[in-house]
Symmetry: C3
Subunit: 354 residues, 3 copies
């Protein structure tokens, strides 16, 4: 359930926070930020698009963040908080509510069970959780929070005001920018997957590069971002990566690109800036995706994408029986095409331009 | 290799344990539970279906759990342990053998290297492994075993008799029911993936919801189950989840649903009760899968599924050369269909109802 | 950036190390191993195939490892280091450079914060990182390095000269061979996914088998390799596994097979020796892949593969609009085939052998 604020805030205070104007009772007290469906009279909710209009009209929210164009869809009696972009306003408000909800933080401290090497350099106000270890030569910027059980390798560098949740592993030499958020269990800087075949099996290629990550990057839980073979793996400013994502060695990801969960990016792929990569996508090695491309979920990007646009490749769901028939026929597709061509020739059709 | 019981048990004792009757030598001593192929005279095995009948006849097992209908397939000389459902009987027996195999457990204890906050509440008989940390306000039910290196966040709650294997991370406020089993490295309650676009890049949406997990839930290794944006992510009683599964924010999974490995479930998807989701499946966001649906491995569920049944969508494997031809032709499929229609019109065929 | 060697080496020393001959200035000093694109006069690079010839000619590398056949593509002025297999030579050289780059290792030691059970047996020169735990009966071979936060279960065995990076979890009874490399966050030996249906939900099948891993195996970050139900899960000598790979219970993988990232292998699948499994591949349970098979990335191996060769199954990427049309037509494929057959019959074509 939504946690209630220990001290409710007024509708006016909310409007001021997000730069909005109020229509209705600005002094109403609000204790929760809630979805349209679960809001009650003590809750503020938001309407971010016409497809939720019906839910908005039926909502019991005491206040609604809404655009002028959709304000008629506010539930009767609710205070309307008018703003140009309700979704962005919701994002800002969620951060404010979180800051009000989180229990008073104790002073930053290094837990006695943490192991910080004498040759590591920690900035001011750094918090290190139980059992975390920070190796020689590592640098942790001011205001960082290093969660329980994190392991920071030799010479790694974490920019200021970053949050590493528990059990994150940062290998030696890896660099993270300012305000990074890394969720639990993620591994940054493990060896890229490189082996040279030989008569006696594979010979390991030592991965001499590193990983360089820009500012304002968020990485989800249990991801694996490999260090480069010779050059570095690079992730640009503002990139957002969901859970269980693999980033191979020497991958480069441009600024403000968003990557959903379970994506696998093979070695030396280059992804442009402001791309959106859907969940479960695979990106083949050594290809390039241009700036601004959108890849639909579960697609394999097996070739370079040179033009911005929306791309997809995924088998649509069918009943299993129909799928079996379709899959069987699929394998005959080249032959079917040939037969079609034969019929056309016989019918005297002009040769298709295929 | 199968570990042998320190003290063998009789065929009769096994039969009693699983509510079966014995045909043959009930006093034979059994030290191992083994597959048909690797069983020897000291081992009990089981026959769970006709397709294993040949392996059963050729097995060297000293005793066989089998249904009355298939008892003729028992190897000559083996004691037959007759039961209605040999597979369920095997499951029960495996638990008994495990309890006999596991070395005597030491008394529950909090390892001196663990960090348990004074404001955490631990039930009776709780075991906390080396280096684990339990934050203020967390509640750990009676009889729980918290593995080495686990991190339990503020105000999280773990139901009684739960087992968290090493390095599991439970974020603040997350609730697990009774008898949970969570395998190593799994992360529960990391932030859902929510960002609002703005001119200056993405604005993080604080994830104010939590995760609520019912009773008797098992979760595999290195999964990531995100907390909700506003409402909670919910996993029902008896749900079983394999390894490396991603559950996005505000997903709801009904009771007794089974999810195989490497599945990715995007935000706000709803999966019904008693579903079976095959390995590597992707589930798109904001869709619903009804109770009792079965999704074949490697399928993308890109739309809601309203009727129970077996659904699949996955390209069948081909030789690479054939695949190249098929994939090239696939892209022409809409054009081929048009050409077919043209030929039919020319031939005076009645218009297909497509 | 490439780290520079603290003390540069000569071209001759490099050649001697990899069994090569030098054409040009053998006394030139080299401080870096670099890609063709980022090499400078102090760097050695390598040319491993004709498709990189142009990059080689334009490179600023001071020395180039190259085959006799391609030596004309070396940049003007660069020392040529001639060798039969430049890629394998690069692999060897990368290992040498790494050994020169890594700061002098402190003597092997057990960190005071590590918890090593009195009934564990550690070989000579074993290094145990902060917060790692080693349970009773575990055996750690000579020269092993156990990273921070690793948890080694009861009776597990790690062969000599193995490296476990931080936060690896090895469950009880698991066996790793010599010279294993396991990257951070990987979990070996969690329970296989086995439940027997019953009226009251699923009954857990205790996983009594274990995991046996051969010599010279490398496993990437955040993988999950499950223990067997009755028999063991087995991974052969020299197998290389990338990140985020799931290996189900009772899977067997033959020697020197290579498995790329994000692969999911379902229970009881058997993969032969010297196979190459591409990224994101799914392998269904209870099937067999023969020795030497190559599976293209993102394919589902839903049936056994009996002949060595290159196999693929993955939808090619399309623009989203084209994909929508193709996907809609795909579902009609069996019907299209029928209509084609109808037209052929009408045209008096001989019946296709399909």
């Amino acid at each position: 359930m939504h946690r209630a604020l220990p001290v409710p805030v007024t509708v006016e205070a909310i409007a001021e926070r997000i730069g909005a104007t109020v229509h209705g009772d600005g002094r109403r007290r609000i204790a929760r930020l809630a979805s349209l469906e679960s809001a009650d009279a003590n809750a503020v909710s938001f309407l971010s698009g016409r497809r939720h209009a019906r839910s908005a009209r039926e909502s019991r929210a005491g206040a609604l963040i809404v655009s002028a164009a959709l304000q008629e869809d506010a539930p009767a009696g609710a205070a309307r908080i008018l703003v140009a972009d309700p979704y962005a306003a919701y994002a800002l408000l969620s951060q404010w509510f979180e800051s009000l909800l989180v229990p008073v933080r104790r002073a930053a401290a290094i837990d006695p069970s943490a192991r910080v090497d004498v040759a590591a350099r920690l900035g001011a106000g750094v918090d290190v959780g139980p059992g975390a270890s920070i190796a020689a030569g590592a640098r942790i910027g001011d205001g960082c929070r290093i969660g329980a059980g994190c392991a920071i390798g030799e010479g790694a560098s974490i920019g200021p005001d970053s949050i590493l949740h528990p059990n994150v592993v940062v290998y030696g030499g890896v660099t993270l920018g300012a305000r990074a958020v890394v969720h639990a269990g993620t591994v940054i800087g493990a060896d890229g997957f490189g082996f040279a075949p030989s008569r006696d099996g594979f010979v390991k290629i030592a991965q001499l590069g590193s990983v360089r990550i820009g500012d304002d990057v968020e990485i989800g839980a249990n991801c694996a971002i490999d260090r480069g073979a010779l050059d570095d793996t690079e992730i640009g400013d503002g990139v957002k990566i969901d859970n269980l994502v693999q980033v191979g060695h020497n991958v480069r990801i441009g600024a403000h690109t968003v990557i959903a969960g379970c994506v696998g990016i093979a070695g030396s792929a280059t992804i442009g800036a402001r791309c959106m990569i859907g969940g479960g996508v695979g990106v083949s090695g050594h290809i390039e995706i241009c700036d601004g491309a959108i890849i639909g979920g579960f697609s394999l990007v097996e070739r370079s994408v040179d033009e911005p646009g929306f791309y997809t490749g995924a088998w649509p769901l069918q009943s299993h029986v129909q799928w079996e028939r379709t899959a069987a026929t699929l394998k005959q597709l080249p032959r079917l095409r040939q037969r079609l061509r034969g019929l056309e020739a016989r019918a005297g059709e002009p040769k298709d331009s295929e």
